[in-house]
């Protein structure tokens, strides 16, 4: 109860500071909008909306050219022809995001009714949503075209077979021709003639679709900002020591653990409120702004539990900063260095799959990594609590570690 009294008092002090409240709740929302907007979902003009699509045409036949014309006509994608070597070099250097390759046997294969495969290769850093959109356009156009060619070819074949045969003896009636066209159409639905494979250079097997910058905005910014509140705990303890009230609390009949617990709780509560505001904005506000909204995933309870662990870990980290820093300047410096550094390293700004590719297992040393993984898995990949058990255990482990070191190094004198 005494610890709760400290918590209540600290919350009273915090909510009297309007600047701090604004910073706590508004700043993360600005970041969410900026990061989600970075997808390019807002502010696009008509001209800019066409995604450039470098194409290597190894076929050169009529069907390949028709395909490219149809892709251009479909809207949304602009075909740009490249030589194969040039396209691969540019892709390798990330000068272009993706390349569509039309195989040499494309025209012949279509004409013979043989399945053909178009290859769409994208760079690791390419916007996955854009790549997916391109793939759908190419696939749709290619299949429509293949179907059209086949039906026309079938009809032409039937026509040629009946040439010279009296009308009464003709085997292919109008009804049979219609049935043939319908059958080919239905087959095309279940077994498309043209397949589009999408992969990254060097990948032999398809991997789990990585997430882009906009996808991680809500979980990433939540993790970053909930951890940033850790410095509020450190500042609050420093202020208590500075004015001498900490001495008075030490002279009161309460344990040191209860005292530090009481100083941690306000951060936990403000962290939870902050997360609530970010999530609410992510779900409702982003939709109103025409951006991709966030969801709480298939197991909202698991998401809430991860957020509680996240806020607890941040509070324990606040105690650690308070224990390590000796001056107000050190609190500011340590907080900026550690919290932003860990946020960057832990996938709050750059998607984890990129960080992991660049840094290997290094991001695992920060709690942000585990919190981001858990929230992305729950909120974006739709996984459940059992799937993020390791991440939750890691967060709990960091919490215990931070609090234990903080308690050990804390100077109560």
């Amino acid at each position: 109860m005494k610890a709760l009294s400290i918590t209540f008092k600290d919350l009273q002090i915090f909510f009297k500071d309007r600047g701090a409240v604004l910073q706590l709740f508004l700043l993360p929302l600005v970041f969410v909008v900026v990061f989600t907007g970075a997808l390019g979902a807002i502010g696009k003009g008509e001209e800019d909306a066409r995604v450039p699509l470098p194409v290597v045409n190894l076929d050169g036949g009529q069907s390949a050219q028709t395909l490219l014309d149809n892709i251009n006509a479909a809207g949304g994608v602009r075909v740009e022809p490249y030589a194969q070597a040039e396209a691969m070099a540019l892709l390798d250097e990330n000068e272009i995001d993706r390349v569509l390759t039309i195989p040499a046997d494309f025209t012949a294969g279509i004409a013979d009714g043989q399945p053909v495969t178009l290859r769409l290769v994208s760079h690791a850093d390419a916007d996955v949503k854009q790549t997916e959109a391109v793939r759908l356009v190419v696939e749709g156009v290619a299949n429509d075209m293949a179907l059209e060619i086949q039906i026309l070819a079938a009809l032409q074949q039937m026509g040629e077979m009946q040439a010279g045969v009296p009308e009464s003896s003709r085997a292919f009636t109008v009804e049979r021709m219609q049935a043939q066209a319908r059958s080919q159409f239905e087959r095309a639905q279940t077994q498309p003639l043209v397949a589009v494979t999408q992969r990254e250079p060097g990948q032999e097997v398809e991997q789990e679709e990585p997430l882009g910058l906009g996808d991680i905005a809500v979980p990433g910014i939540t993790v970053l900002f909930v951890f940033l509140t850790a410095q509020a705990t450190a500042h609050s303890i420093y202020d208590e020591k500075k004015v001498g009230s900490f001495r008075r609390l030490l002279a009161a009949p309460m344990s040191k653990v209860a005292l530090l617990g009481g100083k941690m709780l306000p951060n936990l509560i403000t962290g939870l409120i902050q997360t609530g505001v970010i999530f609410a904005f992510g779900i409702v506000g982003l939709r109103l702004l025409g951006l991709t909204p966030a969801t709480l995933g298939n197991e909202p309870l698991a998401t809430v539990l991860v957020v509680v662990l996240l806020a607890l870990c941040s509070s324990a980290f606040g105690i650690l900063i308070a224990a390590l820093a000796r001056t107000e300047g050190q609190i500011g410096g340590l907080s900026t260095l550690l919290l932003w550094g860990m946020g960057l390293l832990g996938g709050s700004v750059i998607p984890l799959f990129i960080l992991e590719r660049m840094l290997g297992p290094v991001p695992m040393v920060v709690p942000h990594y585990w919190a981001n993984r858990a929230l992305v898995d729950l909120m974006l990949r739709g996984l459940g609590m059992a799937d993020v058990a390791v991440e939750m255990a890691a967060l709990l482990g960091f919490t215990v570690l931070f609090f234990a070191i903080g308690l050990w190094r804390f100077e109560f004198d």
Binding site: S5, Q12, I13, K16, V243, R247, L250, M254, D413
Partner: protein, 336 residues
């Protein structure tokens, strides 16, 4: 009268620096006990150990029969602490501050409200209870600071320099509050200060503390009596042992000793010793004469010096008070 506080050989070190060097004293129930000493003498460190803020390096203390090492939780319930700092939350009102400190001591509901109203009355701040502390004058803040230490009705109250930076009117308020708490509620009080006037006004007994040691402990009357009939400082061009012996032998003179020259202060950071401003020091030496009767002693000393054809460079008659006692014992002024 029962003993509420008994301190035995309490020691506290910070690294190599020994802040408190084995102090021992006791305080009786209902007594106002003074700890008088200059800044840095070790008063606050001593109080911090007795209130459980700092652990002692060695030594023991019992408060209300409880050992501070073994029953600190019980000791904390008996103690009240008014720290030297304004240990308050400036953005909260006086009442909100007091409510918080009351809850820390386990007070709730109507009892808490009653106690808050009571302590606000004691420090005469009932009218300003809902005002934000940051808008209060220094004296008012000091009074809220005291009120916060009274909420749980401690049996032993530690007041650590409670009048620092306070205007005379608020200082009087504080004195009245302290005396009322002691007389009307029987609260035992340990009062630290470097203002001898406050200690003389409020305390029954005083321990004079300097450089971590208690150098004298008695009632104010007895401490002043150490000065005998008074103390006279006589400035002379040159002094030797023979002259001191002759002065000591004069009628009405109890003792004549050479006042040690104060050590030169260390040079200020970044300033060369030669360029530092220094207080002009009178040439010659100063002899401290402890008199049995100060007026008679002055006459005898002046007559003797005239006979010897020794001219006086200065003459200072010290008032019989704690300041003089401190000067007599340490050769330093309390506020040096």
């Amino acid at each position: 009268m029962a003993t509420i506080l008994e301190v035995n050989n309490l020691v506290k070190k910070y690294g190599d620096f020994e802040a408190v060097k084995g102090i021992s004293f006791s305080v009786e129930e209902g007594e106002v006990f003074g700890l008088l000493g200059p800044n840095g003498a070790g008063k606050t460190t001593a109080i911090s150990m007795l209130t459980g803020v700092l652990p002692p390096m060695s030594g023991t203390a019992r408060i209300g029969g409880y050992d501070i090492g073994e029953n600190l939780e019980e000791v904390k319930k008996i103690n009240g602490l008014v720290p030297q700092d304004l240990a308050l939350y400036p953005t909260l009102s006086a009442r909100a501050n007091l409510n918080f400190f009351g809850r820390i001591y386990g007070l709730r509901g109507r009892e808490l409200k009653g106690r808050v109203d009571d302590v606000l009355r004691i420090v005469a701040l009932t009218e300003r209870a809902d005002g934000t502390v940051e808008k209060f004058s220094g004296g008012m803040k000091r009074r809220v600071n005291i009120a916060a230490g009274l909420l749980h009705q401690p049996r032993l109250l530690f007041l650590d320099e409670p009048t620092v930076g306070v205007d005379p009117q608020s200082r009087n308020h504080i004195f009245e509050s302290v005396l009322r708490l002691n007389r009307e509620r029987g609260m035992s009080i340990v009062y630290t200060s470097h203002y001898m006037e406050e200690v003389e006004l409020l305390c029954n007994r005083v321990a004079i503390i300097d450089e971590g040691r208690i150098i004298a402990l008695d009632t104010i009357k007895n401490l002043i009596a150490m000065l005998g009939g008074g103390v006279i400082h006589v400035g002379l061009p040159q002094v030797d042992d023979a002259l001191l012996a002759q002065l000591s032998a004069l009628p009405a003179v109890k003792e004549a000793t050479l006042v040690p020259r104060p050590a030169a202060p260390p040079p200020a950071e970044g300033v060369e010793p030669e360029t530092q401003e220094r207080e002009p020091v009178a040439a010659g030496e100063v002899v401290k004469i402890v008199a049995e009767h100060s007026q008679q002693a002055i006459v005898n000393v002046i007559d003797f010096l005239n006979e010897q054809d020794i001219s006086l460079t200065s003459l200072e008659i010290l008032e019989p008070n704690l300041e003089s006692v401190f000067l007599h014992l340490t050769g330093k002024k309390l506020r040096e």
